[in-house]
Symmetry: C2
Subunit: 297 residues, 2 copies
DNA sequence: CAACCTCATGAGATATTTTCATATCATACA
DNA sequence: TGTATGATATGAAAATATCTCATGAGGTTG
């Protein structure tokens, strides 16, 4: 017969006891109250002993539960301390991040200070991930890329970071000079800025007006950042992914001209090699968690 | 970011460190070496630190691994102790076992002493489970039953205990008196003992000779135990499940007359109610584990 | 009361853990 | 030098455990 009960149930119980409530334990462990309830019950069933006294709107420890909780508290503290100590010995290899230029310029670098502030002695090497050029995962721990379809890379794991849907935007100065730009007709009259090719605007006009429209005039930029510079300096209307120009919109540097989005299926993805070198795995984990958190903001 | 690494990985690592090898740790935890390997690696990835030095035919702890192992050893010991203490407080409600008469008489009761010796202060109440009569799981924690098909009972969980295949057997004394009983012809000439109905022998003759044979003579007993008594006292040949007369065969009280078995699809099952009352759950677990272990013997 | 806590629960979705079936690697021995 | 041997590694599939969702039930509190 088994010697020790399920460890995860013990942890859940310990958290519940310490926090004096299932819901609070659930918050601590980043799970639902339901999960804690299931786990505590599992433990009680395993022992054949009631650990919490329910009813009265809250759960109180039984005497047996109290004793168990005290010992477990000590033990888990010891475990946590020991683990922290091990982590601290992890050496300072830099984390290699490869990011597409647009994200780097508009989103990541402005937020980078926040990350480094929270994570001191966390060396980082930031490089470009160029679209269409495979990422060398021997030199990259984590990457951020853009993809029009659901991303599936052979030896890597993809996690969506944020959506890639684009809307027409321009600078306030352009509006002042040109007058209002509402609806496809007016927008078509303004200088159009293209990223890479003509496809974006063609799609957008098709979607808004229901019919094909030639959109092969205006300037085509090699790269998103160039197009954005042009848009910022009032040279025309550009189709930009909402997610990455949110700072520009908030600051009033750019103004969205329509609700209609294109490329709604596209997204920005976090890419990690399927198997990370040991020394960079925890850093990658930390950074990824921060990315996902920052993406919500 | 997470505060503690996966607990199960920590346990695997601790066992590997203490046992000085993955394979031995695997034995201790009743898993495969592969599982330990995966878990230790997971932990190393989590920490970003090498915990074991591989190569040289065996794994040795790194300095960091050594420190971690020591702390974890202490912590897990404390956990185990605390859990043992809780279990000991579990009060002594009796375990209610319901068993079909054949198993009770031939198999369980002869082994019961062994169980009670290993498990002192473990009160037991043994009752009959009568075939065809539903088991009242309000008064039964665990049951052993027989079924010709794969068993599925609504609010209960069934675990196969041992096979139910039957062979012809008789006492040595009958053989002495009657002469050898080899093959269907000779057996047909001896008095046949029936359990419940004629079906058993009909099936057996059909299986051995390939053709139907009337087998409606001989004595029909209400119950297996009666038939067994008759067989033991040399009154004829009976079809008995191999599993439950193994003691009789070993002791030479009964002799198997053929290799050909019937009811090969049938089996004896352990039945547990889907949700056990808290106080009996651990006892049930213990008893079930013992049953399954004893079944292998 | 009614709003708002608390914990409970069953079913289904998700994630983790384990196994299986090899692969690799170093050592010992012939 | 080959094998044989005894260790760990590994990828994919299977088996389990865990978590969430959606909801229920019971208790406080204004």
């Amino acid at each position: 017969m088994d010697q020790t009960p399920p460890l995860n149930a013990l942890r859940a119980f310990e958290a519940a006891a310490r926090n004096n409530g299932f819901s609070r334990a659930a918050d601590e462990l980043f799970v639902t109250q339901s999960a804690i309830s299931h786990q505590v019950r599992q433990l009680e069933d395993w022992f054949g002993v009631q650990l919490f006294e329910r009813g009265g709107g809250r759960a109180r420890l039984t005497p047996q539960g109290e004793g168990l909780a005290r010992s477990l508290g000590d033990a888990f503290t010891e475990i946590r301390d020991a683990c922290r100590k091990v982590r601290e010995t992890a050496v300072g290899e830099p984390l290699n991040i490869a990011v597409i230029p647009s994200i780097a310029a508009c989103w990541l670098i402005p937020r980078m200070a926040e990350f480094t502030a929270e994570n001191s002695d966390f060396p980082i090497r930031l490089t470009y991930a160029i679209h269409g050029q495979p990422i060398d995962f021997n030199q990259t721990d984590i990457a951020i890329v853009y993809s029009r379809e659901k991303l599936a890379v052979p030896r890597a794991r993809a996690t969506p970071l944020f959506p890639g849907a684009s809307v027409p935007v321009c600078s306030q100065s352009l509006l002042d000079w040109h007058g209002p730009l509402t609806g496809p007709e007016q927008i078509a009259g303004a200088p159009l800025l293209h990223d890479t090719d003509w496809r974006g605007w063609s799609d957008w006009f098709l979607k808004t007006t229901g019919q094909e429209r030639r959109a092969d005039d205006g300037v085509v930029f090699e790269d998103f950042n160039l197009m954005r510079s042009a848009a910022l300096s009032g040279q025309g209307v550009a189709l930009c992914p909402l997610s990455i120009i949110q700072d520009d919109l908030k600051a009033g540097r750019l103004v969205a001209l329509s609700e209609t989005t294109i490329d709604e299926e596209s997204a920005y993805y976090i890419l990690e090699p399927a198997s990370l070198p040991r020394t960079s795995a925890p850093k990658t984990r930390t950074f990824k968690a921060w990315l996902l958190d920052a993406a919500i903001n």
